[in-house]
Subunit: 200 residues, 4 copies
Amino acid sequence: MGRPSNTAERRAQIIGALVRVMARQGYDGASVADVAKAAKLSPGLVHYHFQNKHEILLAALEELSARHLAALDARLSEHPEPRAQLHALIDFHLGLGADADPEALACWILLSGEALRDGKVRARFERSLSQVTDRLAAIIRAGVASGAFACNAPPAAASALLATLQGYFVLAATARPLIPKGSAAAMTKRMAHGLLGGEP
Amino acid sequence: MGRPSNTAERRAQIIGALVRVMARQGYDGASVADVAKAAKLSPGLVHYHFQNKHEILLAALEELSARHLAALDARLSEHPEPRAQLHALIDFHLGLGADADPEALACWILLSGEALRDGKVRARFERSLSQVTDRLAAIIRAGVASGAFACNAPPAAASALLATLQGYFVLAATARPLIPKGSAAAMTKRMAHGLLGGEP
Amino acid sequence: MGRPSNTAERRAQIIGALVRVMARQGYDGASVADVAKAAKLSPGLVHYHFQNKHEILLAALEELSARHLAALDARLSEHPEPRAQLHALIDFHLGLGADADPEALACWILLSGEALRDGKVRARFERSLSQVTDRLAAIIRAGVASGAFACNAPPAAASALLATLQGYFVLAATARPLIPKGSAAAMTKRMAHGLLGGEP
Amino acid sequence: MGRPSNTAERRAQIIGALVRVMARQGYDGASVADVAKAAKLSPGLVHYHFQNKHEILLAALEELSARHLAALDARLSEHPEPRAQLHALIDFHLGLGADADPEALACWILLSGEALRDGKVRARFERSLSQVTDRLAAIIRAGVASGAFACNAPPAAASALLATLQGYFVLAATARPLIPKGSAAAMTKRMAHGLLGGEP
DNA sequence: CATGAATGAGGGTTCATTCAT
DNA sequence: CATGAATGAACCCTCATTCAT
C-alpha cells in the first residue's frame, strides 16, 4: 500500500518555516528557497505540497488563526464570569504571552499588510478578527445580562477593544519603547471599564 | 546658466507615485518601473533623484508623517481646552478624515510591516508615533492640571489611546465590516473617559 | 532518486564560455547573458552554478592556471638536464604552442588587468606566476649544482625570465608585428644565457 | 571675440581624471560621471570636449605615450655611447622611476587589455611600443657599428628587450613580490649582454 | 514522495549620451 | 562653454515555478 502519507507533517513544516522566515524578511523577502531551507526540505518539494507560494501564506494564516483561537478559548473556559473572562481575554493578548511568540506577532502585522491587496488573505484575516469580536461581544452580552456591564452596542464595544488589542500588537512589534512596561493590559482594562461601566 | 534644479518637485512626484502604487501593490510589489510610470517619469530618472528604492520609502514615510502631524497640530490649535483637544485628536484620526486618504492609510499599515525588518523605517515610524503620544500626553497632563482629567500615568494612557487609534486604522483598512458605522470615534472617547476620568 | 548532479560539467561549460566571450569582449564586456548563450545555457542557470559573475572569472583563472601548469610540468618531465629543461620551458611558452590557444592568451592579458583592482584575482594570478618562477628557480639551482649554470641569485633570474615570457605574451597578443617571426624563443634563450652563463 | 578657448586645458583635465579613475576601477569601471567628478567638471562637459568615452581613452593613450617617449628621449640624449644609452633606457623603465607613476603603469596594463579588442587602441598601443623598439634598434645598430655590440638581428633583439620591460611592468603591477627588490634593471642588463655580447 | 537542475521573466540599478537652459 | 536633468537600454542577479530523474 505504499508508504504512509506524510503530507500533513510536511505542510506543517513548511508553514512553520514560512512564519519563521517571513518574520525576519517579510513575505516577498521570503523566497521559496529560503523557506525550503528553513524547513530542511528541497525547493521542489515545497511546490509538491503547495500549489504556490501564496497558498503557503494562506495556510499559515489559517494555522496562526486557529492556534490563537484555540488557545484563547481554552483560557476563556477557565473563567465563568463575564468580567473575569474579559480580563482573561485582555491578559491573554497583552500579558506576557504577547512576547512568547514574536514571530507570530510579526507575521500578524505582515498579514495585515498582505490583506490590503489580496482578497483571500483579507477575507481570512477579517474572519480571524471577527472570531475575536464574536467572543468579546458574547462576553459583553453575558455581562449585560448579568448586570455586570452596561452597554447598548456590544458589537461596537467589541470592535473598539479589538482595535486596542491590534494596535498594541503593532506598537509592541514596531515601537515597543512607546509602551510603558507592563501598562498595556492594565490600561486596556480601564478602557474597557469606560466602555462597559460596572466596577473596574 | 544650466538647467534650474527641479529636484524637490521631482522627488515629491516620485514620493506621491510610490504612495499610490504601494497602496495597491505593497512595497515589494511596487517596482521602480511602476513608480516611474505612475510619476510619468522615465525609470532612470527615479534613480537620479533617489539613491535607491528604499530611500523613496523613507522619504515617503517622512512626508506622510510630517503632513499628518502638521494637520493634527492645526486641528489641535483650534481648541484651547484639554478635553476638547482630546476629542479633536480622536476625531481627527477616526472621523471622516480617515477615509479621506485611503492610500496614506494603506501605506501606513504597510510601513508598520516594513518597520519590522528595517531599522531606519522602524526608527522613523516610531518617531512619528511618538510625536502623537507626545501630543496626547501633553493634553492629558494639561487636563490633569486643570482638573479635567485624573491620571497618574499620562504616558501609559497616551500609549493606550495611540494603540486604539492605530488598531482602528488596521481594522478600517483590512476588516472594515467589523467596525459598526461611525462607532470608532465615539467608542474611543468612551474608552478615553475610562482612562482619564472626569465627565465623558 | 532526484537528478544526478552535473554541476562540474556545467561549471566547465560556463568557464569555457566565459573564456571565449571574454577573449573577444573583455571581462566587463562579457555579459552573463552572452556567456550563457555561448555556453548554450539559460541565463538563470549560470547563477545557479556560480554565485556571481566574479566567481566565474576566478574559476576561469584557476582553470587556466592549472591547465597551464600541468602541461608545463608534463613538458619538463621529458627532459632531465637543467639546460634542456630551461629550453623546454621557453619553447613551451614561446614556441608555436603560444598561438595554439589565443583565447587563453587574451584572457591572461585581461586577467592581469583585473588583478590590478581585485585582490582575489591578484592573489591567484600572482600564485600562478610564482608557480612558474618556482619551476624556473628550481631548474636554475639544479643547473648551478651541476655546473651547467652560473647564477648567484636564482629568484632574480627566474623573475627576469618570467618577465620576458609575460612580456612576449603581451606583445604577441597586442603588437605581433613587433616580434620578428620566430624570434621569441631564440632571443629568450640568448638572454637566459646572458643571465646564467655556461654554453648557449 | 568671445572668451578664449580652454579646450586644451579641459581635455588635459579630463584625460588626467580618466587615468586616475581608471587606475583604480578599470576602463569599464570608470564611469563618465566618475571621471567628470575626478576632473571637477560636470558630466555634460565631458561630452562637449570628447565625442564619447572611447575618445578619452585614445587621448589618454596618446598622452601617456607621448609623455613617456619625450622623457625617454630626454634621458637618452644625456648619453652619447650606445652601451650607456642602453643602460639608460633600461634604468629609465625599470629604475625607481617605474614606481614614480603607478597610475600610468596601471593604465598601461589596462590599455594592453583594451588593445585586444579595439583596433584603434591596438594600433596606437602598437605604435607606442614600436617607438621604443625603434630607439632600441637604433642603439643596437649604433653599438654594432661602433663594435660595442654584436648582433645580427637588431629588431629581434630590440623586441626581446621590449618584452622584458613590458613583462616587468606587468609583474611590478600585479605580482610585485615575485621581483627581488632592485633586481629588475640589473637582470635586464645582463640579459641584454647575453643578447648583444661585448662587455657587460 | 523527493530531488535539484533548469527556465525565463522581471527585479533594482547603472550609465553613456543627449539636450534644454 | 557649461550645467545637470533626462533618457532608455542593458546589466547582474533573484526567484517562483516546472520537470526529468
